[in-house]
Amino acid sequence: MGKVPFHLAVAAYCAAMLPAVASAATDADVESLRKEIDALKAEYAQRIAALESQVQQLQANPDVGATAAVDQQVAAAPAAPPAAANAATAFNPAISLVLTGNYADLSRNPDDYAIQGFIPAGDGVGPGNRSFNLGESELTLAASIDPYFMGNLTASITSDNSIELEEAWFRTTALPFGLNVKGGQFLSSIGYLNEVHSHNWDFVDLPLVYQAFFDGQMHVQGAQAKWVAPLDEVLLEFGTESGNGNYFPGTSLTRNGLNGYNAYVHLGGDLGDTVAWRTGLSYVDLHADDRSFDEPNPAGGDSTSAFTGASTTWIADAELKWTPIGDPRNQYLKLQGEYMQRREDGHLSYAYDATDLDGSYRSDQSGWYLQAVYRFLPRWRIGARYDSMDSGTMKIGLVQQGLLSPADFPLLLSGSPTRTSVMVDWSPTEFSRLRAQYAWDDASAGPTDDQFFLQYIYALGAHGAHKF
């Protein structure tokens, strides 16, 4: 305790004690007097602690603190216990833990799942496993580092006892002109759903277009700079990201410097008092070096192909949320859609048994989803989503030259995968959610995959953000 706070605390203690003692002195009952004094002592010890923290604030920021310290006494009118320390001053990082899990009933074997006509991405594709599945147990720690930076770590512990790093980043908090810089590993801000953590999704799984084009969500290892335009009524923000490029559709590269980049612009605002909207346009430019994938060969066994070249993706997204006047817990409707178009240009190698070939490759593919989620009762929501993919044009040099036949690339044969999903969820409080989802999935060639999910999501610890 410093010199000033100690004096102030003693002064406050005496000032507060005197009238209390004086009025109590008229009381004849000495025993109750003693009890009262003990209670007062305990109370004032707390008040002194509160005053100390205020004095510390005052020293840190004299202009602000001075009024606060004076007014604390003025406002003492309602008899009440002293205020607890402000959470913002606590040193411990805010900790939150999310527990998720599901039960899945899939009519087709998930091992055979593929989005027909699209180069297989990785583990991010497909409905997951059958039966009971433990989802990610996601632990987040976040706090201010100093007056200039804040830090965040989100790690998920997976059911096979490994720890996956979701996000680990710092961001600036004191750059001028509305600039924000983030560095480390983070969910890219491209599109809309890319930076939404899985426990905040409106469906059990991601749209097909995210699975096919980004193997789920893009985690950038690098840096992001964004700027919000100084407008009163309309949100206009620009952002750009770059990193090591080792995230799908890019691969690890041995180059120095910035390996690929993303850019986005968001525009959003209100329509009257009840509708909020946002639209965005994003661009992804990455390079793949030997991005390999396996396909079952008609003659048995697997062939291995690899793409090397440039991959660029455009994303257009739009969201609209209608909340009628009244309690937003009771009713709202959210519409959301994203359209993506990807071009890949380079060459594709092919290896099967003794065959080892290399030829040109060029594809122009697209996909979109549209979804609506409606809260119709305080704890209940229903939602529907439609996914559609267009395998577009794919020019494989080895096939065009007649060295291989289209049948040698069974997963790349043209297709128009679609999926329809419906869900209902129940959230007893802000911190828990139970969901049932049914989907008719026509992403893979062959019969429809009927998928049924039951899912739980529980949030423990620090209060989550109500992001748009």
Binding site: P78, T173, A174, L231, L235, D270, D273, A276, G326
Partner: protein, 301 residues
């Protein structure tokens, strides 16, 4: 291609960028603190209120227009005590506006100027969505409003020193009128002392404390937890034995549960504005208390 993209973006930015206005831009999180900022700042401030009395301030989304407001604000007048925990930190972060970050003069929290009630001794969500820092709904005790006004006047003067004298003068004028009004409201409200009531959430806590009214029960069994049929049935039995004089409902509350209970136990529901704008009469802070008292007194007869 990307050059076109950046070029188009910049052109769009220039098109929509407007010249900055001279008045101090204030972003208030609730209608009450917005109204207070207008009272104290007069024409030297340009106040935008993020929420209305017809919504539950806790459940607001960090929607894009609010990020835009936070970007250009010179001062954020927040309620604090975790009331806006779900969205205000997101706004402050997303805006990239260094003037309004917590700990800077541009960030003002009303609850820092009053003593909070109901500070829990144990914090556990099994008790519902409790507020670990205490009950944040401080605006319904006019003495709290006076204390916050004093703090806000000083803050306005601190961040806009050129107009400090103006704010001080308006502040004194407000305090004078407010103290008179408090005397009047306290005298009128004396009749309400000891009147038993039922509330939905504990958000009239400061009003009841000020007027000495007695809270018999809450319709929510725990904060933020809607009542079950069993709990309501038990409430009916309990309240039929010792009847409250009225059931209080805020402008933003769903009327279903209170209307049902009102019918069951034959006790009137009193709709309270709760915040400025909650009823047509509650046009400003004076109107808020005038109307609240009128409605309570009418039902308390």
């Amino acid at each position: 291609m990307i050059r076109k993209f950046i070029g188009a973006s910049l052109a769009m930015a220039l098109l929509v960028t407007q010249p900055a206005q001279a008045a101090l831009k204030v972003l208030a999180t609730t209608a009450d603190w917005g109204s207070l900022a207008t009272e104290l700042g007069g024409d030297k401030v340009n106040v935008y209120t993020a929420t209305s009395a017809l919504e539950d301030v806790h459940f607001v989304n960090a929607k894009p227009s609010l990020v835009a407001r936070a970007r250009t604000a010179d001062l954020v007048v927040a309620n604090g005590a975790d009331l806006e925990i779900g969205w205000l930190p997101v706004l402050l972060q997303e805006s990239g506006n260094t003037k309004i970050q917590p700990g800077t003069p541009g960030y003002f929290e009303a609850t820092a100027f009053v003593r909070l009630l109901d500070v829990p001794t144990a914090v556990d969500r099994s008790q519902g969505d409790i507020h670990p820092l205490g009950n944040p709904h401080i605006q319904l005790d006019p003495r709290n409003v006076a204390a916050v006004a004093k703090g806000l006047t000083a803050r306005l003067a601190a961040i806009d020193p050129a107009n400090a004298a103006y704010y001080q003068a308006r502040g004194s004028d407000f305090q004078g009128r407010w103290q008179q009004a408090i005397a009047r409201w306290t005298a009128e409200g004396a009749k309400l002392k000891g009147v038993p009531v039922v509330v939905i959430h504990t958000d009239q806590r400061y009003l009841l404390n000020w007027l000495g009214m007695v809270q018999l029960a809450t319709i929510e069994p725990k904060p933020g937890v809607p009542p079950s049929a069993g709990y309501l049935a038990e409430l009916v039995t309990r309240l039929s034995a010792s009847k409250p004089t009225m059931i209080l409902r805020n402008a933003y509350n769903d009327p279903k549960a209170v209307d049902w209970l009102s019918q069951k136990i034959g006790v009137p529901v009193v709709l309270l504005p709760f915040s400025v704008g909650g009823t047509p009469e509650a046009k400003d802070l004076f109107g808020l208390f005038d109307d609240t008292l009128n409605r309570l007194l009418a039902a308390g007869k």
